[in-house]
Structure formats: C-alpha cells, structure tokens
C-alpha cells in the first residue's frame, strides 16, 4: 500500500480551498474560510496565528483526524476524501505522526510500549509476533536518539514534561511517517525544555523529515524553514 502513496511531484501535501465551520449553540463559527497550503517534501513549515484562528483545526484536517466541509487535502497527490475508513486508519498509522501539546501518552503503558504502540496497532497478532523484535529494537534506538534510553521501563507519569514530549515524538516517528504534524509541541513546556524539543525537530528535519508545526509563538515559528500565517481563517500572503 505504501507504493500507492508515491509522490508524483515535489509536494507531499496540498490543501486546496479548505472550509470548516463548527456549531456553537445556535451560532455557526466559520473557522477556515478557503485555506490553500502546499508543503514540499523535507520542508519544515510553521503555521502561526492567534488563538482561535483555526491552526489546530487545519492541522487535524491535514492529518485526517477531521474532515473539511469543503475543499480537498491531497497527500502525495491522492485526495484523502476519497479514502475509505480503513484507508484513513492506515494513513494515520503509516503516513503521518502526530505530536500533541499535551503529549497524549497512555499511562497504562511503559515508555517503550508507548513508542512501539503504532507498530503494534498496525499489525495483527501474528504480524506483531513476526516483527516484535524489530519494533522493540527500533523503539529503543529512537529513545536513545531522544536521550531517553534510561527511561524505557518508566511510566509516562514518572517523566518530566520535556521527557514526555520526546516520548511522543518517538511514538510519532516509530512507523517512519512521511509527515510529522506537531500541534503546539512546546506549548506546555518551559522555554529551555521547549528549545530542546525544537532542537529535536530541527535535527529530524535535517535528516529529511517533513514537518508541519502549529504554534502561536512567532519566536518558536522562527525555527522553521517557512512560516505560514493564518488570519481570520485564511492564509495571509
């Protein structure tokens, strides 16, 4: 299936005329009002905007966690709206990795288990037993690269905020996704720890990882290769 996603041009991701609105009581809040965005392979794009400007909504739509009311998201030239439910699950499992502001790790699992969870989720029981050694080795390698090799058996609640976010990055990278989507990855961290996370993202980008990061902080956005500003539901030129 991975071959289905092979790129036909330089753009890994294209959003064309995205509209999204939500209902809040009787009122309808229009969040996105025709967003166009194209991300090239290996790019590090920061989406900035004020609170409520629709940054997170846009990121969720790009990662197929939400659907636009109108418009299309094309990943490696394939329209996500044409994907079936199981194809979207496979897309989220294999093609994208999410990093959230609040880490979103599973407390019942150890650090190592949290990291290799996407591999486990993408396989049947038999498939998992066939690749479990590889998965555990890769998870350990990732944790070593992220400076957490001593924390593999810990539970998420035993870690600091920065450590948790690095575990979340490890999980997002486990299946070697083509695209990493980060939603305010430093929003819950102090500036020193946040810088550490941004260093990790920069390092990943240097190895060719495509990253789209959402932040409200211009200084953090400066670490990205390209900044896109979202104002009033539209990309500002």
């Amino acid at each position: 299936m991975i071959s289905d996603y092979m790129s036909k041009d330089d753009f890994i991701l294209k959003a064309e005329g995205l509209y999204k609105s939500y209902r809040m009581g009787a009122a309808e809040v229009r969040v996105l009002k025709g967003v166009d965005l194209a991300v090239k392979k290996g790019e590090f794009v920061a989406i900035v905007g004020a609170s409520g400007s629709g940054k997170s909504t846009l990121l969720h739509i790009l990662g197929a966690l939400d659907k636009p009311d109108k418009g299309a998201v094309k990943f490696e030239s394939r329209d996500l709206s044409r994907h079936s439910g199981s194809e979207l699950n496979r897309f989220r499992n294999k093609m994208v990795g999410f990093v959230f502001q609040f880490y979103h790790l599973l407390d019942e699992l150890s650090v190592l288990e949290n990291v290799f969870l996407p591999v486990m989720a993408g396989k049947s029981v038999v498939g998992w037993f066939a690749c479990r050694r590889w998965a555990k080795r890769r998870a350990r390698d990732l944790l070593e690269q992220l400076g957490l090799s001593e924390r593999t058996k810990h539970k998420p609640y035993q870690l600091s905020g920065g450590e948790r976010q690095r575990v979340a990055i490890g999980r997002a990278l486990m299946n070697e996704p083509r695209l990493l989507l980060a939603d305010e990855p430093t929003g819950n961290l102090d500036s020193a720890t946040g810088n550490g996370i941004l260093d990790v993202l920069e390092k990943l980008n240097r190895t060719g990882q495509t990253i789209v990061m959402v932040t409200h902080d211009e200084r953090i956005a400066q670490r990205a290769e390209r900044i896109v500003t979202l104002v009033d539901g539209k990309i500002e030129d």
Binding site: L105, E108, P118, M120
Partner: protein, 452 residues
Amino acid sequence: MHKIILAVRYFLKRRITHFAVLAVALCVFIVVVVMTVMTGLVSDFKQNNHNFVGDCVVGTESLVGFAYYEDFVNILEEQKDFIEAVSPVIKSYALVNVINTENNTGTGLEILGIDPVKHSRVTSFANTIHYHKGDVSKTFVPSYDPNLVGCVLGIERAFERDLNGNYFYHFTAPRTGYSISCFPLTARGALSQAGTGLVRTKTFYFSDTSHSGLARVDFSLVYLPFEQTQQLCGMDGPTKRVSAIHIKFKPNIKLQTGCEKVAVLWQKFKQEKADEKQAYLLDTVTVQSWKNYRRASIAPMENEQTELIVMFAFVGITNVFIVLVVFYMIISHKSKDIGILKSIGVSNADIMVLFSGFAFLIGLLGSGIGLFAGRLFLMKINRIEDWLFERFNWQLYDRTIYTIGDIPNRVEFKVLAIIAISAIVACLAGALVPSWQAARQKPLNTLQVNQL
C-alpha cells in the same frame, strides 16, 4: 495485540474494575448456590417420585378400579423386549384406628394394596422399608408374630424425628394393631354392602415402615397386602379389579417409547374386551408416564424452579447494568486514550474489541471467583448448617417439617458452565453500548485541550 495488552492493563490498573469483578462474582455465587440447592431439591423430588411409581402407570382415579387386569398383566408380561416387570395395585382410602389406645378418633389415610415382591421389581419399595430390607417377601409378616397380617406405615405416621431430621427407629418393630375400615364398592360404584355391614373392617399389625422421601406419601400412606386390600375395597368379586398396574421398562427403553407401546397394547386390549360385562370400567383407564402420573406433585416444584430462574434472570440483568455503569465510568475516563489510539490509526472495530475484551476479562474472572466460592460453599453447606444449628439453633429447612436429609449440594457442571457463560455474556452485553459509543468518539473531540 495492543487490544489484548491494553485490555489487561486497564483491567489490572483500574480499581473500579475490581468492584465490577466483585459484583459479577457475587451474582454468580448466589446463582450457583441457590440453583444447585433448588435443582438438587427438584431433582431428588422427581427421583423419589420415579422410585415410588415406576416408569409407567396404567390406571384409573376411580375408586371402583377396572376389571380384567389379570389378562392385561399377562399381555404385559409377555412383552419381554421392553417390559422388565409389572405390579398391579389397589389404591383407596380408609379409616385407620390404632387398637387398644385411648383417645382413638380414627384417621383417614390412603391405602395401597401391593404384592411386595412384584412391587419391588417395579419401584424402589424394597429400599424404603426398614425391618425387612433383606427379605421383601416377608414385608407383611410382623417379626413378633408371623401368624398376623402386617401393614407398612409411612415413616412419618410410624416414628417421630429429632431436630436433625433423624427418625427414632425401634430396634424391633413395635407390636401395634390397626383396625382399617373401607367402604367396599360394586363395579357400578355403589356400596356393595347394606345396613350395619356397610363398612368392611380388617385388623393389621405393624410390620414395617416405608421412607420414600415424599412428604405426602410418608405421612398418609399405608401399604397393605394385595389380596386383603382387594377384599376391603370390594374388588374381589368374580371379576377382580385393581386401581392401577405399575410398569418398569427395560433399562434401554426410552420412557416415551415405552409408554407409547403400552398405550397401543392397552387400546388393543380395550377393543378385545369391548363386549365384556364390565368393559365400561376400562374407559376411565389412562396410560401415563410416571412424570404425568405424578404431575400434580411435581408441577408446583417445577414452577418454583422456573420462578427462581426468572428471578435470577433479573439478577443477570442487574449484572448487565452494573457492568454498563462501570464501563460508562471507565470509558468517560478513557476518552483521551481512545483519541490517542485513533490518532495512530486504530479502527472503530478495534476500539470495540478492546473494551469488549476488557468486559470479557471482568466476566471471566468474576464468574471464576463466583464459581469457585460457590463450589466451596456448597461443599461445606451441610457442615455450615450443622454448625449454625448447634450454635444458633437455626436451620435452612426445619427437619421436623421437611422430609429432607442433607441440603442437596451436587454441582452439575453443565449448570456451572451455563452460569459462567451467562455471566460473561451479561458483561459483554453491559459493555456493548459504552464500547460502541467509545468507538464512535471523534478523536478530535477527545484530544482537544478543553477535554483534558
């Protein structure tokens, strides 16, 4: 694999699941204990009825009885392929007075005239008597005087019981005479004697006692020798009559098949006797299996059992609700996890399987604990009851009233399996709606900052 791991981890880590397991275990425990005791009582009761009657009864409820029975007995005895033994009996009611006793007001009792040897081949009569267990042919021969005609009294009529339910058997049969009076009837149902000789009376002496385990039988039945009973009831005329013929089938014969064959034989016999003088008596005769014959006694007990099953179905529904509430609580706490799993590509079906697996574990462990505790309790139930009686003078069944020895505690593995499977299914049913709702949750809603 993640479903199994997460289901097990949720199960081990969430304290509320321990309460769910406890609730399931408690329900299973109660159902196992009560159902085992109740099923045991019903099953013992049915067995005692079967032992008392034999397999099949060709008989009439009329006190007149029916004629030509000897011919039919001969026909039955020729059916060696499916009939093991037959026993004609006379059933009636009599006034019984104890001889040489002051304050003797007479008691109306049921009398059953039998040939003890024949009747023991068909029923378990030989096992119910006490003094003549070794030689049933001498059942009606009192040990203290072989020249007298004996009678066998129901155990409740003969001896008293202690609080533990044990009877005070005398070392030898006590010499007690009974004057037994009947109204002999003609074949047309009229009194066969007129004037002062309206009643026919005979004296019998206590020779043995019968303990059938059936309260009504043990309390109000007197067994008498066949011929004497026939005379007492006026069934000893030129055309002799009986009330019923009890039949025992060969061991490999199914009850229904045997009864159907007997019914065919009876119809044929009835046609052959159609021109006989007392053929009209054959019209009231029915062929019934022991279950139908004793239906009036068994049905109320079976009804009680059915009512109990219905009540426990409600316990099962309560179980479903407990699991449902627990799962709503668990899933409301785990909505973030559901969002995380969906963000890494876990499908809705997998989310359902995850929480169903969780419910399955609750059901499995809960029913396991409940079955184990129930089994243990049942193994000790009689000792516990004895202890309670010695310590607090309390009994589950008053042995002076109920003809129960030990509380039935035979565990039927089929029943245990049904209870365990029902408990697991109840857990899965309870978890179904919350799991379905969990699977339908949108990841975006659960991962938003304001949801945390």
